[in-house]
């Protein structure tokens, strides 16, 4: 069985609710309405043996609306077929059904997406943070969260009397120029900003031409 046989059946089953899959270099991506995700997933698993959930991840498309999305990477071991499902979620109160009842492996992946992006998975058996500690007030992989972090409470430890502080950035984050043949020019701390880097590169090109 191939994806060319599976996709028309999928469209037919959900009669017009799923737009046609987009293709990029042989990878197929279906955008699925968030309300349908659980039924689509269990249909794909039961009818076409998509028995492996390779990955489930949150994505923050900051500046776009809808802002968040959840990506599901499915694989059928018997048919050797990959398929990607995407659900778009709004910035306000991003919620989606959990697929832990379809694939048990989704449990920790959904906890990670909740921890890092604040996407809430309904009917999840144990929706707790998985990487950050319980009680951490932010979702740090959101694009509007600063890399250095924000002050927060850290119970049960002795770090600065139970406080987390912003990391000192010392002018960073630093940018390296990967294309340059000289290691000196590739050194990230040579340039504090991308603009500075471009100006330096242009100057060195000029001197080479002279």
């Amino acid at each position: 069985m191939t994806l060319y046989e599976i996709l028309p059946q999928l469209y037919q089953k959900f009669s017009g609710q799923i737009p046609e899959a987009s293709e990029f270099r042989g990878e197929y991506t279906c955008t699925v309405p968030a309300t349908l995700i659980k039924t689509v997933c269990s249909y794909l698993k039961e009818s076409f043996a998509f028995d492996l959930l390779l990955d489930l991840s949150g994505v923050d498309n900051y500046g776009q609306e809808p802002r968040f999305s959840v990506d599901y990477l499915l694989y059928s071991i018997s048919h050797k077929i990959h398929l990607r499902l995407i659900c778009l979620l709004p910035e306000e109160n991003p919620e989606i059904d959990s697929v832990t009842s379809v694939w048990a492996t989704a449990n920790w992946h959904e906890r990670e997406a909740w921890d890092m992006y604040g996407i809430r998975f309904l009917d999840h058996p144990n929706l707790k943070r998985i990487l950050m500690w319980e009680g951490y007030p932010y979702h740090p992989l959101r694009k509007d969260f600063p890399l250095a972090g924000l002050p927060a409470d850290l119970p049960d430890t002795a770090v600065d009397a139970g406080k987390v502080n912003e990391s000192p950035m010392h002018g960073g984050p630093f940018i390296t120029s990967t294309g340059s043949p000289h290691s000196h020019a590739r050194e990230p701390r040579q340039h504090h900003t991308l603009a500075e880097l471009i100006i330096k590169q242009k100057k060195s090109q000029k001197t080479e031409q002279d």
């Binding site: 250095a148 972090g149 430890t157 002795a158 770090v159």
Partner: protein, 188 residues
């Protein structure tokens, strides 16, 4: 070391079985040469720590080959790797479970300062919650650098006033180490 342990052999006083020395020097000699490390391996530095323990670099030449995974039996915590905030509570608890006297080595850039991880998740140096005696730079440091740091710590232990400290159970203050300044080893 020879400057600190002066036995001053005198055949009139000391026979075949007696050596006269200060108790301080004897205790320090024992402590410095039988440090049992608690391997707090948190990231890639732990691989170098293992290499230091193995036969090529052989930390047992300095009496520290007995890696103890029980904090009750260890006197030297080697924090090897990146310590995230979530882990810091565990590291602190293990440190508190170690009995006095105890010492701490911050192995590598991450344990010393947070290293390249200027981020929300990483403690910017374990000296925020542990009294570090020796900092070793490098990413990761060579095993030789760890040995150099350990030997520097041995020299410092050998200067301890261990006799007057016996019975006291004062926790070391943070960011000060044992003596006026912590030891910093260039491990790069």
């Amino acid at each position: 070391m020879s400057q600190i342990i002066q036995t001053g052999f005198d055949p009139k006083v000391e026979g075949r079985d007696i050596i006269v020395t200060r108790l301080d020097a004897a205790i320090d000699w024992v402590r410095a040469n039988s440090c049992w490390p608690m391997p707090m391996g948190l990231a890639c530095c732990a691989i170098e720590l293992m290499a230091t323990g193995a036969s090529r670099f052989d930390i047992s030449r300095f009496g520290a080959e007995v890696m103890r995974f029980s904090p009750r039996q260890a006197d030297l915590m080697i924090v090897a790797g990146t310590c995230v905030y979530k882990m810091s509570g565990v590291v602190k608890r293990v440190w508190d479970q170690m009995t006095n006297p105890k010492w701490c080595i911050a192995m590598g850039a991450c344990a010393s300062t947070g290293g390249m991880y200027r981020s929300y998740a990483v403690v910017q140096g374990i000296d925020q919650f542990l009294p570090v005696d020796v900092y070793i730079s490098g990413c990761p440091p060579r095993p030789e650098a760890l040995l150099e740091g350990f030997m520097a710590l041995q020299r410092r232990i050998a200067q301890d006033k261990s006799l007057s400290d016996l019975g006291t159970n004062q926790p070391k203050p943070l960011n000060s180490g044992l003596a006026p300044s912590p030891i910093i080893i260039n491990g790069e």
